[in-house]
Symmetry: C2
Subunit: 381 residues, 2 copies
């Protein structure tokens, strides 16, 4: 397996890069007495390209892999795991994440519980780099949850029985491939369809020819005419679609507010809603928001966005990129309070080094296991 060999080689290289600057923290046991407060958080990271089972096509691009960075945060012999998934259209890369993570000095933090300070520091080091920031946030949550001996859905007081159905995404493809994907999606109770091309109606009709399961629709900013968009939404409603995600360009705010006001289906902002300050801006423009850890720098801000959106009476969807079970299990911790989940990213890849949250009868099923609740299938660090 050539990909496996490459994986190990790249991993070794990155570990070397990643540890530069941190080795002095654990220079030797003799130092302990001289530096009683020297024990801080220790970060490791390594790239791990995700191999997609199917070529993935959305409105503007298609690809076979997703660049990804795995992280590990150590404190007092306890390890927390995180991840940055970086689909190219978001502007991050293994290079940018390596640069960002190498610039962090987490050894200055002697108490992992000070998540507010730690993550404010991480956010302050450079602008952007949201996925790279999320990779630290997720690892920190995993670590702190393990110290408390509880999974985050319990720490947050959520009922694991409240998790929603999760949708399975069907990309834009030939009718034959689409039918095959729908068959693969048998365990799911709701399907997500990527639209925004000339073939939208054909795509929906193809799916409808093989299943009558509820659909949700993600247009990825693909529609530019609000009247045509409204007409399309009326048609989609007849076809059993339950909501429409990011139908228009994120810059088309007035048109989008008009569409939401007139739409017979709820509208959800995705590309329009990255971080916490975007939630209040989305009020009145969309009926709900799609929270993704890779957009919003991780679980802490995601939890705040969820709290804010719910208090504003908005719907919340928890989404993902193509990710390993690490980030998917992290996002799933929030899912009991979300209206919809779209956490199928780990099921689209063939080289997941972790296992975690499972889909049982179409529903996210949380595990009563500390932190983000993952197990290591293939040792990475």
């Amino acid at each position: 397996m050539n990909s496996r060999r490459n994986f190990i080689r790249i991993a070794g290289l990155a570990t070397t890069i990643g540890l530069s600057g941190f080795e002095t923290v654990f220079a030797g046991s003799n130092d302990k007495k001289m530096k009683p407060s020297g024990k801080g958080l220790k970060l490791r990271f390594l790239p791990h390209d995700l191999l997609l089972k199917h070529t993935f096509t959305i409105a503007n691009s298609s690809r076979k892999t997703t660049p990804d960075m795995l992280t590990c945060l150590e404190f007092d012999g306890i390890f927390g795991y995180g991840e940055a998934s970086m689909p190219p259209y978001l502007g991050e890369s293994v290079d940018s994440a390596t640069k960002f993570l190498s610039a962090l000095d987490l050894s200055q933090f002697k108490d992992p519980f000070q998540m507010d300070d730690i993550l404010a520091y991480v956010d302050s080091v450079m602008p952007g780099n949201c996925a790279a920031k999320a990779s630290v946030d997720i690892a920190l949550h995993d670590l702190v949850g393990k110290i408390m001996g509880q999974p985050w859905y319990k720490i947050w007081g959520f009922d694991p029985d409240d998790t929603p159905n999760t949708s399975f995404t069907i990309g834009i493809d030939t009718p034959e491939v689409v039918r095959q994907k729908v068959a693969e999606a048998a365990p799911y109770n709701i399907l997500k369809v990527k639209l925004g091309m000339a073939t939208d109606k054909e795509m929906v009709e193809t799916i409808r020819s093989v299943t009558d399961k509820p659909l949700c629709v993600d247009v990825n900013q693909g529609w530019t005419d609000k009247n045509k968009a409204l007409e399309m939404i009326h048609w989609l409603k007849e076809k059993g679609v339950v909501f429409v995600e990011q139908p228009m360009p994120k810059t088309a705010i007035d048109d989008m507010a008009w569409l939401t006001e007139n739409s017979p289906l709820p509208t959800i902002g995705d590309e329009s809603v990255q971080r916490l300050p975007d939630v209040i801006k989305a009020k009145g423009v969309y009926n709900g928001i799609n929270i993704k850890l890779m957009k919003c720098t991780g679980m802490r801000e995601a939890h705040q966005m969820l709290t804010l959106a719910k208090s504003l009476g908005m719907k919340v969807m928890i989404g993902c990129m193509t990710e390993t079970s690490c980030a998917i299990s992290a996002a799933a911790q929030l899912s009991p309070k979300c209206d919809w989940a779209d956490l199928d990213g780990n099921l689209l890849i063939s080289n997941d080094p972790y296992s975690g949250v499972q889909v049982v009868n179409g529903k996210m099923t949380l595990i009563d296991k500390p932190g983000i609740g993952i197990s290591i299938i293939e040792a990475v660090f």
Copy 2:
């Protein structure tokens, strides 16, 4: 000590009342095999009138005691403590709290971590009763924090070094008593003055004759003319006041928005802001909000209000009623993320059965102790 004897007598009575309906839960060990899921949360409660060191005068009333109800929530041999403080003007009483708490069936909840479900149930049983609801919420937080082995400020990821100075309240009184109170307030770096009567300027001048410490002002809706209010705020600014709380009646929304727009000092809504939905309504009307556990049903909703207010760019003050160290220590868990604290309620009473958060050099000082971090000084349950 007659008051102590009365306390015990009332306590015994209330415990009997409080346990009716719950005794069947622990009917006997023989039942255990027949009811494997029968172990639920067990609530006890008893009234404990708080004795005030000084007669307390605000704009509309004065009193020497505050009715209070202490609660204890047990699960699996672990005890969590809570409290409802019920100053008469808020409309709750020992009778209403007894009725409310007796109506709860918490034995149906087998997992204290399901705080969302438990507290949604508590909130749904009757409208109002916010302090009584807070007494359950606080006990549940204490219990769950103890199960996790961590104080809530750590669970929430706050930095205990970030706690603000806490203000010490000086009630409306004669110049002689005011001077005496200011002397008592020596350990504090900021004083809170209750205004809203004809003697406002005299009151501030009296305080200024003995100290130049920063002041904050609580008018308790006492000013009705917006122009006079603005004039007064300008005068107060010259006197070293840092913010003005609830200057006008809570119904005077337009006048208040005008005052906030023109005020040289930040304005804070207190009576105007009870629960989570009030936060968004306060945006544009006040610069900030005063969160009190007894108004908002407890720590869970208070944490959500804090998150919401901060994401809306508003200032947050954490306040209290006259309370024991129980509710004060619970509120203090939130204080590192607040701009101002006004948590002196336990210092105003002479029969505090608990000890918890301390004021050191004028600052709230959190204790690294699980739950809300209190110790029992006088066994109550």
